[in-house]
């Protein structure tokens, strides 16, 4: 019996670990390092209790609560309480993403590619592959829990003791287990990896949303979400362990369910009927632009929602800028206060730098989709028909440009709306929009670089991302690190005037636009000349 089901589970587990020998460490280390670095940063930013207490005050507003959770121990806001409040929920969310992606990769995606068929034809048990996947991903989460536990403890921060740190790690690990189970479960229901990921992410998003709504309106509701359980541990404040057992227990139920469903179904089928799609294309689809919009639709929608929330996060803290800056010295260095303008307005324009940079990401991704399509041998379908290269490239360029504009507007809107609800002496919404739109020329330059590289040096497109990271470091953090001015001037974002609190400077904006045009033009010429890989 058990041999029929589980033969060679151990060997398959080792095989899965081997296949992911780079992927898994990258996830583990980047998550742990991010957490430990944040804890360190918090300790450096807010070394004394008064400062922390001031921050706690700014944290009590609906927007912040919706995004990071209600927070415990706000009246005695230790570094531990702060860490658990501001980081735990969001990190758990990312751990959920990691677990889902890892599980789907080795279950439905492998099955879809016919790889499980080969494995099943070997003397392995019927459940071996699924069990091995679950074991490995659970193992990853356990490892993650311990890495966090000891990593945070070893920082030697007073309020972050061993038990609290281990609980912090366990909360993350338990969330990971939960979404491992969810991924494994939906891999049985859906018959495609896209469907599985979509459904699992829907549960993940919904869980976060339920918690957000619950925390703002009615705490009972939050207890219907695994993120509510995670935060119910009240890490570093009361250290409750029972929510961890609850989460792991429910995860276990879903795992059993997944295994049960797996035995009951045929290979490459799913329990949810895959509904037939359209037999004919709508007239909307029938052009390179329409095709492209259709392909990028979901991604762009997700980015819009994400950026609205991102903008709102910043908007919600904007109201407390004045008190915040008076009490926290290091922030003043970041900003370098200026005469005659309110700190809030000044902070707003600084935030726009980072917002515009984040909004550049979806715009660049929309442009680089052209290269991705080439890599997947799908541009040849279009180019082998009566579509010119200029036409093809334009359909990506337009989407990239428009999404840059739309994303920027949405983020600014989110920020404006959150700020005006959280603040008494509201700043006009138009100011948010203006402060955002002034960054469009910089985004155009970034898109220009992308077009140029796709056309002229497609192997080097990765440099665009590097340049964006450089811009972030020198322009946004420049004040903090006291970089010389010329370093910021090497980035397009460093030339954008802090409009509307400064005068509008037309020369640099016009120059940036010119540079963007030249880059785009050369990119088009290059693309028309070069070999297309597929």
């Amino acid at each position: 019996m058990s041999k029929q089901l589980y033969a060679h589970t151990e060997r398959l587990s080792r095989f899965i670990i081997r296949r992911d020998r780079i992927r898994i460490p990258i996830w583990l280390f980047s998550l742990t390092i991010a957490s430990v670095a944040t804890a360190l940063a918090l300790a450096n930013l807010y070394p004394n209790q008064e400062e922390r207490q001031a921050i706690a005050k700014t944290m009590i507003n609906p927007a912040t609560t919706a995004i990071v959770g209600p927070g415990y121990g706000l009246d005695h806001y230790t570094l531990g309480a702060m860490m658990a409040h501001q980081m735990l929920g969001i990190t758990a969310f990312v751990v959920g993403i990691m677990s889902i992606l890892l599980v789907v990769r080795h279950t439905r995606a492998d099955e879809e590619h016919g790889r499980i068929e080969i494995i099943r034809s070997l003397p392995t048990g019927r459940l071996s592959h699924l069990t091995a996947t679950i074991l490995v991903v659970c193992g990853v989460n356990v490892l993650l829990a311990f890495m966090h536990g000891f990593g945070l403890y070893l920082l030697n921060i007073e309020s972050m003791d061993l038990e609290g740190s281990l609980l912090y790690g366990a909360a993350l690990g338990a969330t990971g287990l939960f979404f491992t189970a969810i991924g494994a479960f939906f891999a049985q229901l859906s018959d495609s990896s896209r469907g599985t990921i979509g459904l699992s992410f829907a549960v993940l998003g919904l869980a976060y949303l339920i918690r957000a709504v619950g925390d703002v309106s009615n705490q009972t509701l939050s207890w219907f979400s695994p993120f509510g359980w995670v935060q119910g541990t009240e890490v570093y404040v009361n250290n409750y362990w029972w929510p961890i057992f609850l989460t792991v227990g429910i995860a276990f139920v879903f795992i059993i369910l997944a295994l049960y469903l797996n035995v009951r179904r045929d290979l490459e089928s799913g329990f949810l009927p895959s509904k037939p799609g359209r037999k004919h294309a709508s007239s909307f689809l029938l052009s390179p632009l329409g095709l492209n919009l259709r392909l990028q639709r979901t991604g762009l929608l997700a980015w819009s929602i994400g950026l609205f929330v991102f903008g709102a996060t910043y908007g919600s803290v904007l109201g407390d800028t004045e008190s915040f800056f008076e009490e926290v010295e290091i922030m003043q260095e970041l900003l370098r206060p200026k005469e005659g303008v309110s700190l809030t307005e000044q902070f707003l324009t600084l935030l726009m730098t980072i917002i515009s940079m984040v909004c550049t990401i979806p715009a660049l991704m929309a442009m680089f989709k052209l290269k991705g399509e080439e890599k997947n041998n799908r541009t040849e379908h279009v180019l082998a028909r009566a579509v010119s290269r200029t036409h093809l490239m334009s359909s990506y360029f337009i989407i990239s440009l428009v999404s840059g504009f739309v994303m920027l507007s949405i983020a600014a809107l989110g920020m404006g709306i959150a700020a005006t609800t959280a603040m008494d002496n509201g700043i006009a919404l138009s100011m948010f929009m203006k402060a955002a739109w002034v960054y469009l020329p910089a985004i155009c330059v970034m898109i220009g670089i992308a077009v140029f590289l796709i056309g002229v040096a497609p192997k080097l497109t990765g440099l665009t991302w590097l340049y964006l990271v450089y811009s972030y470091v020198v322009v946004y953090l420049g004040g903090l690190f006291q970089f010389p001015d010329w370093m910021a001037k090497l980035s397009p974002y460093g030339h954008i005037p802090k409009w509307p609190i400064e005068d509008m400077a037309f020369t640099p904006v016009a120059m940036l636009t010119m540079i963007a045009l030249v880059l785009i033009g050369s990119g088009y010429i290059g693309y028309n000349k070069r070999d297309i890989a597929g």
């Binding site: 037939p276 082998a384 009566a386």
Partner: protein, 305 residues
């Protein structure tokens, strides 16, 4: 009249010479079979003809227009099926077919539905759910619903089952009847033999042989099966005789076509009871070139090559 003409096409990828002077000519109403071992340069040639990659040297014209300069105009009259059909996982087959037909700028709805039925394709399925053969069918339906003048097909049947293979052959014969031209690259030699008027064999980026099948056959050997009253003495020492195998009472061997006359005279001395001859198949022909290469390689190992 030549619809497609390529002369001395060369193409290098870094250090690899993919094409080393390819000449190709497809006439109106002709089906041209393009065969050669893996990596010989078939797909590279076809991609140059489609203006997807640019030749380093030589020139190529389709409908009298330059394949690189006038790609878009040419493509209005071309239908193309790639060997490796990658489709968008979240679109259905029906959507992809409509898109492809529309991007060429012509429409032929009735033919589309008829072909979907003929190829037994479910157009409402998402492309990620299609098997390799089904993806190929999507590309084939899109290509044949187009009212093109030249069909460029790069290994279009590598994933089709025998039944679908036959449907494909019917489609090719249909377009031939309408006077259209086809450039068909394929590894399925029986298919090429059945369909093609002319064959070009490419090896290491060079066309090494081209002509009609009967012309090519002339260059090669005929298969003979002979049964004689007395055993044929020292058959192996005759000029132009190869691959002798005994089959019961009879012997089977191959003869160079130009030596056929003298071999038959010699054999007849031994009292022929049975004589069967078969023309060389394209496979024999291909194998001869292919093996020739392998021999040459073995012999030349360590040499300049």
């Amino acid at each position: 009249m030549a619809i497609l003409e390529a002369r001395r096409l060369t193409k290098k990828f870094g250090h690899i010479t993919a094409l080393d002077g390819v000449d190709l000519e497809v006439n109106e109403g002709e089906i041209y079979g393009f065969i050669g071992p893996n990596g010989a340069g078939k797909s590279t040639t076809i991609r140059i003809l489609l203006g997807i990659i640019k030749a380093d040297g030589g020139e190529a014209n389709i409908f009298g227009k330059d394949v690189w300069q006038d790609a878009v105009d040419i493509h209005k009259r071309i239908a193309y099926v790639p060997g490796d059909v990658n489709l968008w996982p979240n679109l259905t087959g029906g959507e992809v077919i409509d898109l492809f037909v529309k991007l060429r700028g012509t429409k032929n709805k009735s033919r589309r539905d008829e072909l979907i039925q003929k190829f037994d394709l479910d157009p409402s399925k998402k492309c990620h759910a299609y098997s390799k053969g089904n993806r190929q069918k999507v590309a084939l339906v899109a290509a044949f619903s187009a009212d093109a003048d030249l069909y460029i097909l790069d290994e279009p049947t590598s994933g089709l089952d025998p039944l679908m293979e036959r449907v494909f052959q019917e489609c090719v014969m249909d377009v031939k009847r309408e006077g259209k031209s086809v450039l068909l690259s394929s590894h399925i030699l029986s298919e090429v033999e059945k369909l093609c008027d002319k064959v070009g064999i490419i090896r290491k980026g060079k066309i090494i042989e081209t002509g009609t099948l009967s012309e090519l056959r002339h260059l090669t050997r005929t298969n003979l099966l002979v049964e004689t009253k007395q055993p044929i003495k020292s058959l192996g020492e005759l000029k132009g005789v190869y691959d002798i195998t005994a089959q019961g009472q009879a012997v089977k061997f191959q003869v160079d076509t130009e030596e056929l006359d003298s071999v038959i005279r010699y054999v007849s001395q031994f009292g022929v009871i049975r004589l069967e001859s078969a023309p060389p198949t394209l496979e024999d022909l291909f194998m001869r070139y292919y093996e020739g290469e392998a021999h040459a390689e073995r012999a030349g190992a360590g040499g300049a090559s």
